[in-house]
Every structure is written in structure tokens, then in C-alpha cells.
């Protein structure tokens, strides 16, 4: 687990390109994962079977004048990879960060492969390979300079792109780039020690900051092309519905309307080859309006009168509620992990605690609604837009149109929020079918209502947790999951408290719904953390033991070295717990501050959070969250702290307010007037602490979100005396009331 355990031997196959550029300069392409496979890649970060972590590339371009361009291959959704991944390369390349220009790479299936933003994995997987890329390029440049001077490369030193020999002579990278491009790629490189870092670990502003604060076109919504028309699509208003007929006479007469037609045939064709696509897109016909402007397209869509038939069941939230409860009561489970014998342990227990936790569906609510540009002609397929899974999406489009993948040129724009929604490129599939049919460059734009109604939602889930207590110890633990459409994946059943309790079992069962669901920031754990950590809080109360001590005692029993499925480190977990206790002033606060504690592991990072609730005007208010994170080395502290604060507030907001229900197959909220997101006045202060342990970086985009809901719930319990079992908490306002005597007191 130390930073020095990496394999410093480069594999020759790692380098795909080492090219002298026509215009002068050196372009190095580097196949990162063939060079250095991380020791543990067991856990699929997101539940997409098609993800392949085997390859991952980066490019460095050095011009004759010494200017350095680093191409960032991964989609930027706000997680800062466009800044922090190039920082890692620049560090080892030994150039001044101010002289580095960063460009977004395009989808390039020949040379890049893990071009995915998901699962908080970009930095973790890129860490060793990005460093080696920079170091290899540096070594080639030094060797070229040494050869020109006729000295040994070991006599040369480098600082900020300038090579100096023992005699004090200097050459810039640009001076030797032509010779360097002729050299063999080195097989052994020396990496810097963390103490020598000049770029990593320094607060570094977002590379797009100037463009963002001055409103430059960066996002898919901003993209324009010559001859482009705007598309608005009328989709089935309820899940399970199909188009029967439509009348577009009024819409056709409206200003700016270019054409109105249906799509759907090609999606049905795609579904024959790849039925899984129907998990993200309806096979109904849809009515497309093409117009000269976004507004005209959206307006004309509203003037179309369509008839729909309910082809499959129109589902309701009340029904889901009952179905999930019945599943929890039933016996259709798949066992995901089983240690010891829970049946026997429960039979022998002195005391049993069993609780059920409920969560709603959630839309992603990316501030930039879904959109995509497609220009499909006989000669080319040009796609542009915000997508977390460009390669997978290009694959869908290739199959949809029956065209070769090589014909596809896909450019990724900066993404106005992803949170998992843009892992699913149903909008890109639609844009492609529209452009193919219209024979025009088309930009498909979702209205906010389209975005909320045609979602791929966080699924509604219920957890039932049961613990047995014997002789003052937790002797048995049984976690049951009933979810809409899909269950927890990968190693989640082996997260804490797996390994800490002798008799332990995780079971799951799913109900298949026609409502589309998928990954949502920190899939499953975004709700599971609240359920389990609320349960531990209550368990400690029942056992009449200290809440922190209960957790520490359980962690003492975990032996990851004896069970390779257990990825979390009890030692690292204890360290975040101890730090959070200290930094939050746990147990030392004045009487009017009520605290709630959570520790959690997911996305390879360990996190502890403490929520402070105070009573204001008779209401309990979340005032502060103390968040302690162990994500190893922090590449860019400026962005990392931002990401932590955002993840925490996102977790607080959705657990407090996120309520999304269905009636007759339709979402009951379609815009931000009916669906509540956290806003400024509701946002507590967030105090962030990173554990400084020099270990390799792990995930950060997601792991601070899951603990937040549990920390709030446990603090609310302390303040009000009421346990919260159901999200969002505002759904049961009576439980957020402070007892009369507290107000008077």
C-alpha cells in the first residue's frame, strides 16, 4: 500500500506512439494500464458490465518552442480530472505548471480505452501510469540533451523544463525535442518521492476557470455547427406507454419548424441485437420536432397532440412500497455473503434489534439538461456532447446505424453535472437516429421536464437490518436488500461490518419495473450508508454502550489479510474515526449542539462525518458537518476540498429533501418547482480534514456523499429523540420536531 510499491519497469508495448510531429515537436502516446496494472482491480466501480479497465492512455505534446500540451482523456464532469490528471503527468515530466496547456482528448478507441467518468476511479487507476508517462518523456528529453553534450544523462538535472549539465550549460525541452523523438522509449524510469513534488499537493485552479467565469462555450448545450437544427422529442409521458397516433397539424404551422417525424425503428433494431439497451431507452415511437431554434422546437412539441397506449403496467409509488416490503418479508433472496450461521446465532441471542429503512427514487438533476449533437452523413458520423461513457455510447451508435465504429468521431464537451446520469447515453442514441433520418446536423435538447420525466433514476430501495446481541456483543448481523430493478454489486456485501461479526449474512432481491433506473452518485451506498450507520447508532443505544467504542471494537475484529474480499482497512477506518472525534469536538459540545456520527468505506476511501444540529426557533437545523477523509495522497487540494464539501452537501440535501414519486407511470414532479434540491440557506458549514499518510490516491467524487445522510439522521435523533428510517427526512415532518420541554428549556 505504500507509494513506493509500484513497478518501475515499463513495458515496451505501453507506448503506442512516439512520433515526430510534422510541425515540429514530440507526441508521446502511452498505454497506461499495459504498463502498470494496479494490484487490486477487483471491484467494478459501477454496474456496467461493459467497462474495461485494462487500458488507459495519455498524450503529451512538446513543441519545438518548449510549450507543453497534455491531453486529458477522461470526461470532465466537475470532478476536476481535466486539471488533476495532467498535474500528475506534469509533475513527473518536470515542467512548470504555468507553461502547461491542457486539452480535452477526443474519443479515440485505438489509443485510449478507459475514457469513463464513473465510480470515482480516474485518479486511482491513473496514478502509477500517469506518473510513468511523465517520467518516461522526461528521461527521453534528458537523454537527448546528454547525447548532444556528450555526457552521461546521470550528470544532468532538470528543473521546470530546463536541462542543466555539470558544466552549467542548459537546454530547454524544446531545444532537444527533435532528437528525443528519435529515441527508444526507456524501460526503466525513476519516479519522484512525494517530498519532491512541486505541482501535486499544491492548490491548483481549475484549467477551465477563466472560460467558466466569463461564459465561454464549453458545454454540449453551447455547441453549434453550420446548418444545425434543434430537436425536441415528444416521448411517452408514462413508463410503459407507446405511441398510437399523433396530430402535428398545429405544430407544423408554427414558426421555425423545419420538420416533424417519428423515430423508434432503429432503436427497436438495436434492441434485437442488444436487448440490454431497453434498460435505458424506450422502444416506443417518439415524435421529433426539428426547428431553427431551441425555443421553437420546444414550443412546437407542446402543440403536438398524441395518443398513447399503456403497453405494460403503469406503476405507482404506493405499489412499489408494498412490493418491496413483501419482498423483504418473503424468501426469494440471493445470498451475497454468508459467514457463520445467523439462524443459530439469532436463536441463541439475548436480544434482537430489527429495523427497516426506505428510500425513494431520485432523478439526477444535472444542471445542464441532457443534450447531444449528431451529424450523420454517408461519409461520416460526428457526435459531440456531454457523456460519461463515450466509448460505450459510440458502440451503441455504431450498432444502431449499422456503421463501422471507425466512422465515428466523438468529441466530449465539459459536462454540466453527471452524477451517473450521463453514463447512460440514451440521448446520444436518439440524436443519432434523428440526424440519420433528417440528413442534417442536429442538436437534441431536453427541456428540464424531459430531463426529469425521461430519467434513469436512482432506484427505490428498502433495507432491513437485524442484529443479535449475546453476552453484550454483536453476535449476528443480517442485511436484506429489496430494490427496484437491480441490487448492490461487486464488493459492497463485503464492506463494513463484514469481517467484524462472526455470523453475518447479506441477501438481496429485486423487483423488475419498467421505470428506467441506473447508477446515481455512489450507487447503493448513497442510501445503504444511512441505513447501516443509523442502525449502529440505535444498536449502541440498545446495548447501552458508547457509539464510537462499538464501532472501534467491531473494527478490532476485522482481519482483511485473512479474507481477500474485504477491501477496507480497519486501521485506516479507525484513524478517520479518531480524527473525526477530535476535530468535531465529539462529546464536548455545549448542550444545545446535538451530534451524529458516521464512518463509512466506499470507492476505496475511508470517511467519517459528524453532523452538528442546533435548535433554532424551535426547529432542529443542521449547522455543520465535520468530514474526515482518507483518500491517500491528495493530488489537488483546492479541488479535492471542493469535491468533499459538494459531496457532503449533496448527501445532506438529498436525504433531507429528495422526494420523487410515480403515479400512473408518471413522475409526480417534472421541474424544480415540484422537486426540491438543497439551496444556499439550507447548506451547513463543512469542515474538511484529509488524512496525510502518503498512500496512493483512491476515490473522492463519491465517498463523502453516503455518510452525510446517516450523520444528519443520528444528530436529529439526538436533538429530537426521533429515529429516522425513511428518506427524505422532510417527508415525515412530525419526526423533525423538538419535544416541547426542549424548546422551553
Amino acid at each position: 500500500m505504500s507509494t513506493n510499491n509500484i513497478n518501475n519497469t515499463l513495458n515496451r508495448r505501453s507506448f503506442l506512439r512516439n512520433t515526430s510531429l510534422a510541425g515540429g515537436g514530440l507526441l508521446i502516446g502511452f498505454n497506461l494500464f499495459q504498463a502498470c496494472k494496479p494490484k487490486v482491480i477487483k471491484e467494478p466501480a459501477i454496474d456496467l458490465a461493459s467497462l474495461d479497465y485494462n487500458d488507459f492512455n495519455a498524450f503529451i505534446k512538446i513543441a519545438d518552442n518548449g510549450a507543453v500540451t497534455i491531453f486529458s482523456p477522461n470526461p470532465e464532469v466537475g470532478q476536476n480530472v481535466k486539471t488533476s490528471m495532467p498535474m500528475i503527468i506534469a509533475e513527473e515530466l518536470d515542467v512548470a505548471w504555468k507553461n502547461v496547456h491542457v486539452e480535452q482528448g477526443i474519443l479515440d478507441t485505438n489509443n485510449y480505452t478507459r475514457q469513463v467518468a464513473g465510480g470515482s476511479q480516474s485518479i486511482r487507476f491513473g496514478w502509477d501510469a500517469l506518473r510513468q508517462t511523465g517520467a518516461a518523456a522526461k528521461q527521453m528529453l534528458v537523454s537527448a540533451a546528454a547525447a548532444r553534450w556528450g555526457v552521461d544523462p546521470s550528470e544532468c538535472t532538470v528543473s521546470e523544463g530546463v536541462i542543466t549539465n555539470a558544466a552549467g550549460e542548459t537546454l530547454g525541452y524544446g531545444d532537444v525535442v527533435k532528437e528525443a523523438a528519435q529515441l527508444e522509449v526507456p524501460e526503466d524510469v525513476t519516479l519522484k518521492k512525494p517530498s519532491a513534488y512541486k505541482i501535486m499537493g499544491k492548490p491548483t485552479p481549475n484549467v477551465d476557470i477563466d472560460e467558466i467565469i466569463t461564459g465561454k462555450p464549453l458545454y454540449g448545450m453551447d455547441y453549434k455547427a453550420d446548418g444545425m437544427v434543434y430537436a425536441s422529442v415528444l416521448r411517452p409521458p408514462a413508463f410503459g406507454q407507446k405511441l398510437v397516433s399523433y396530430d402535428d397539424s398545429e405544430a407544423r404551422a408554427m414558426s421555425g419548424v423545419v420538420d416533424i417525424f417519428t423515430i423508434g425503428e432503429k432503436v427497436r433494431g438495436l434492441a434485437e441485437k442488444d436487448p440490454g439497451v431497453l434498460n435505458i431507452i424506450s422502444d416506443s415511437d417518439k415524435v421529433v420536432v426539428l426547428a431553427n431554434s431551441t425555443w421553437e422546437a420546444m414550443k412546437a412539441k407542446k402543440a403536438i397532440k398524441a395518443e398513447w397506449e399503456q403497453a405494460t403496467k403503469a406503476e405507482n409509488t404506493e405499489e412499489h412500497d408494498k412490493i418491496l416490503t413483501d419482498l423483504l418479508d418473503g424468501n426469494k433472496f440471493e445470498t451475497r455473503r454468508s459467514d457463520g450461521n445467523i439462524t443459530k446465532a439469532f436463536a441463541e441471542a439475548d436480544q434482537i434489534l430489527e429495523r427497516t429503512y426506505e428510500s425513494p427514487f431520485l432523478p439526477h438533476s444535472c444542471m445542464e439538461p441532457m443534450n447531444f449533437f449528431a451529424d450523420i452523413t454517408d461519409e461520416k458520423i460526428h457526435l459531440v456532447g456531454p457523456i460519461q461513457t463515450p466509448e460505450r455510447t459510440a458502440g451503441f451508435v455504431s450498432e444502431l446505424l449499422g456503421r463501422a465504429p471507425e466512422e465515428i468521431h466523438l468529441e466530449m464537451t465539459r459536462i454540466g453535472g453527471g452524477f451517473g446520469r450521463r453514463l447512460f447515453g440514451n440521448f446520444a442514441i436518439e440524436a443519432a437516429e434523428i440526424s440519420d433520418k433528417a440528413k442534417k446536423p442536429v442538436k437534441l435538447v431536453y427541456s428540464r421536464e424531459d430531463d426529469m420525466e425521461d430519467g434513469i433514476y436512482r432506484m427505490s430501495i428498502k433495507y432491513r437490518i437485524k442484529a443479535g446481541i449475546k453476552d453484550g456483543k454483536v453476535s449476528a448481523y443480517h442485511l436484506k436488500e429489496a430494490a427496484v430493478n437491480s441490487n448492490m454489486y461487486g464488493l459492497i456485501p463485503h464492506f463494513f461490518p463484514a469481517g467484524a461479526i462472526e455470523n453475518y449474512q447479506v441477501d438481496s432481491v429485486a423487483y423488475n419495473s419498467n421505470i428506467t433506473t441506473g447508477a446515481w452518485r455512489a450507487p447503493y451506498t448513497n442510501f445503504l450508508a444511512f441505513a447501516e450507520q443509523s442502525f449502529f447508532d440505535e444498536l449502541a443505544e440498545v446495548m447501552e454502550v458508547d457509539k464510537i467504542q462499538l464501532r472501534l471494537d467491531l473494527l478490532d475484529k476485522v482481519k482483511p489479510e485473512e479474507d481477500e474480499r474485504i477491501q477496507y482497512s480497519p486501521e485506516r477506518m479507525k484513524e478517520v474515526i479518531r480524527t473525526a472525534v477530535e476535530k468535531s469536538g465529539w462529546g464536548t459540545k455545549p448542550d444545545n449542539v446535538y451530534q451524529g456520527f458516521v464512518n463509512y468505506y466506499c470507492h476505496n476511501s475511508h470517511v467519517a462525518e459528524v453532523a452538528d444540529v442546533e435548535i433554532e426557533n424551535g426547529e432542529p437545523v443542521v449547522k455543520k458537518i465535520t468530514c474526515v477523509v482518507d483518500c491517500g495522497i491528495v493530488v489537488n487540494p483546492l479541488a479535492a476540498k471542493n469535491l468533499v464539501e459538494g459531496g457532503v452537501l449533496d448527501g445532506v440535501g438529498h436525504s433531507m429533501y429528495g422526494d420523487f414519486t410515480f403515479k400512473d407511470g408518471k413522475p409526480t414532479a417534472t421541474n424544480f418547482d415540484g422537486y426540491r434540491l438543497i439551496r444556499m440557506k439550507e447548506a451547513p458549514l463543512v469542515e474538511t480534514y484529509f488524512i496525510d499518510n502518503g498512500l496512493s490516491p483512491t476515490g473522492l467524487g463519491e465517498p463523502t456523499l453516503p455518510p452525510a445522510g446517516g450523520a444528519v439522521a443520528n444528530a436529529m435523533k439526538a436533538a429530537t429523540g426521533n429515529r429516522l428510517y425513511k428518506q427524505p427526512f422532510t417527508k415525515t415532518p412530525e419526526l423533525l420536531k423538538v419535544p416541547e420541554k426542549e424548546i422551553i428549556g
Binding site: G215, G417, D673
Partner: protein, 153 residues
């Protein structure tokens, strides 16, 4: 279609669009000023905030007849070199994550500070409450508005 004369970022523009076209889409689709963002279309999220005669308004909910003869400022025209004190503060705090809502946040904050140069923390929270940030950069927005206020004194 009717023709409208509007003033955007100091320049007079003639636009020929349907009368119910929201100013947001005139800016984005007709005048190529895409810094003003579409988020909800119903005045709930604040991503489309512009200044009309110095007052922060939701461009998705404004028609052209409401802005004729008035002066519109968008994020592109807030300052010549991106150096308005609010922009500088946003840069100093490195506020954005995805960045999509930030033009609207900056336009709300700059109009607010012009009318209330010495805000309390509560004033800042009230002023910024109407702008949603799904990445939840609220902690930094709060600090950046305070920094901008201090630097504008």
C-alpha cells in the same frame, strides 16, 4: 415576426423572433451569447440570470417586450477582461465544480453587491438562495461573495 431593438452588453441589436421567445433563447440561439444557461425554464434555478438595467432577472421568464429600451448585461459583458471583483473572487476561491450554474451565480452576486456593498452573512445567503448548484459549491460561493464585497469597498 416582429423585430425588436435591444441593448446587450452595450451594443444595440436587432432581433427578429416570435414575440413570446424568452430572452434566454434570444441570447443563446440568436445572438450567440451562450454564457447564459438554460436550467429549468421556469425561473426556479437561476442559471439564466442576467442584469436588466442592473437588476438580476431570470432571462428564461422575460420576453423581449419587457426588455426593449433597457440595458441587458450578460456574463460575457460583466467585465471587459473577466476581472469584475465577483469574477476575481470566484477565481480566487476556485468555486466551480461542473461550472454550469456559475454564470448565473456570478450575475446574481454582482447585482446583489451593487445594491448592497456591505452585506451580512445572512444577506448573502438570502441573495444567493434562488440559485441552485447541483454540485453544491455553496460553501465557496458564500466565501467568494464575501471576498468580492471586501474587495469592492
Amino acid at each position: 415576426m416582429p423585430t425588436y431593438q435591444i441593448t446587450v452588453n452595450g451594443a444595440s441589436k436587432t432581433v427578429d423572433v416570435a414575440e413570446d421567445t424568452p430572452v434566454l433563447w434570444v441570447l443563446r440561439d440568436h445572438l450567440d451569447l451562450v454564457g447564459t444557461k438554460y436550467g429549468c425554464g421556469i425561473g426556479q434555478c437561476g442559471a439564466c440570470t442576467i442584469h436588466v438595467d442592473g437588476t438580476a432577472m431570470r432571462s428564461c421568464s422575460l420576453t423581449l417586450s419587457q426588455v426593449e429600451g433597457k440595458s441587458i448585461t450578460t456574463i460575457e459583458g460583466l467585465s471587459e477582461n473577466g476581472d469584475h471583483p465577483v469574477q476575481e473572487a470566484w477565481k480566487e476561491m476556485d468555486v466551480p465544480q461542473c461550472g454550469y450554474c456559475q454564470a448565473g451565480q456570478i450575475m446574481t452576486a454582482s447585482a446583489f453587491l451593487a445594491s448592497n456593498p456591505n452585506p451580512t452573512e445572512e444577506d448573502i445567503e438570502n441573495a444567493m438562495h434562488g440559485n441552485i448548484c447541483r454540485c453544491a459549491t455553496y460553501t465557496r460561493i458564500r466565501k467568494a461573495v464575501k471576498i468580492a464585497a471586501d474587495n469592492m469597498e
